[in-house]
């Protein structure tokens, strides 16, 4: 069965196929009602960004869980790896002088 594609589109709008015969993978981020940050909701397979948006709506937002949806081709996400955990995240904890806890906050100043 020949698969001669007639349509057009670049990688950013169509996404690279994960494997032969598979549609591209997209990560879905949804914003809950009431605002707040978009949180990762899961992933969908879709041929391009418009269908990814619709799939995300059908799979993750049909019951009012979201007021806004972002979809990103999975390959566009750069993520830290488990090996990075040491060099990236460890050093902070055992060095008290890195944290500003010796500074007395003046009254009236908000601290987050």
């Amino acid at each position: 069965m020949t698969k001669k594609a007639r349509g057009s589109g670049d990688a950013a709008t169509t996404g690279a196929p994960a494997a032969a015969g598979q549609l591209a993978l997209w990560e879905v981020f949804t914003q809950p009602p009431g605002g707040g940050p978009h949180a990762h909701a899961g992933s969908v397979h879709a041929p391009d960004k418009e269908m990814a948006l619709q799939a995300a709506r059908d799979v993750y937002a049909r019951r009012g869980e979201a007021v806004s949806i972002w979809v990103v081709p999975s390959e566009q996400i750069t993520a830290s790896t488990p090996e990075d955990m040491g060099p990236f995240f460890d050093p902070g904890n055992d060095k008290a002088y890195r944290h500003p806890q010796f500074y007395k906050v003046p009254r009236g100043v908000k601290v987050f």
Binding site: T2, K3, R6, H45, A46, D48, E50, M51, Q54
Partner: protein, 233 residues
């Protein structure tokens, strides 16, 4: 009836996302039918509610267009049929939103939102199938060619509808043809498909004369209700 046909895709969709999308559309359509039949039962005033109208009418008493009772076929057939139907429904709901019947206008306003999504979803798929591979293009074109003869029926006006139109309660189906054809021609062109020529148009659904498929669908749909009258769960 279209909701019932789409529900047959449950668990059989080509990909998970489409399985969910088609069954979501089915739920939307059944929900719209629920409200419309409820209203119809009240207007009729003979004590029939939406369940009585859905599950106890015979095929000769059903007035749906024949297009919606046709078997689903392959995904291309289903989605082309969905587009042709939803484009029609969207314009119909939009017109009915200004009906003098406040209940009907309310139902129409709600259904219009759902319908717009159905059109968007099915149209985008028609474009991707048409402007896709040779195989998807061929299947989409076959579907369009086969379904075209069932589209004429959507725009026929009978006397009942004409009198409702005069009272500003309903919309004249014939008036929906022009905007529908524009929408369909636009999407068919984007999909690199060919609009079929207007030939013989099937008709009869509105008069209760249906294809051989409706009887079988109703048998499945109504069997539980008829076997256990008045059942509650």
């Amino acid at each position: 009836m279209l909701g019932h046909r789409l529900s047959e895709w449950c668990g059989h969709g080509p990909i998970l996302e489409e399985d969910i999308a088609l069954t979501n559309i089915a739920l939307d359509l059944v929900g719209e039918a629920n409200l419309v039949l409820q209203r119809a039962g009240r207007v009729e005033g003979k004590g029939r509610d939406q369940d009585a109208l859905a599950f106890l009418r015979t095929d000769r008493e059903y007035r749906n267009a024949m297009m919606v009772e046709l078997p689903n076929g392959d995904f291309g057939y289903t989605i082309v049929r969905q587009f042709l139907f939803s484009a029609y429904a969207m314009h119909q709901w939009e017109a009915l939103s200004s009906s003098k019947d406040a209940d009907l206008a309310g139902i129409a306003a709600k259904a219009l939102k759902e319908s717009r999504y159905h059109v968007r979803h099915s149209a985008e798929w028609v474009v991707r199938l048409g402007d896709g591979t040779d195989e998807s293009h061929g299947r989409a074109q076959d579907a369009l060619d086969d379904l075209w003869r069932y589209t004429g029926e959507l725009f026929i006006t009978d006397e009942v509808e004409q009198s409702l139109v005069t009272q500003k309660l309903a919309v004249d189906p014939a008036s929906l043809m022009a905007p529908w054809r524009r929408d369909v021609a636009d999407v068919v062109a984007r999909a690199t498909l060919r609009l079929p020529p207007d030939g013989y148009m099937q008709r009869g659904g509105r008069a209760g004369l249906h294809t051989e498929h409706l009887g079988i669908m109703l048998a499945e749909m109504q069997v539980v209700s008829r076997a256990f009258p008045g059942a509650r769960w």
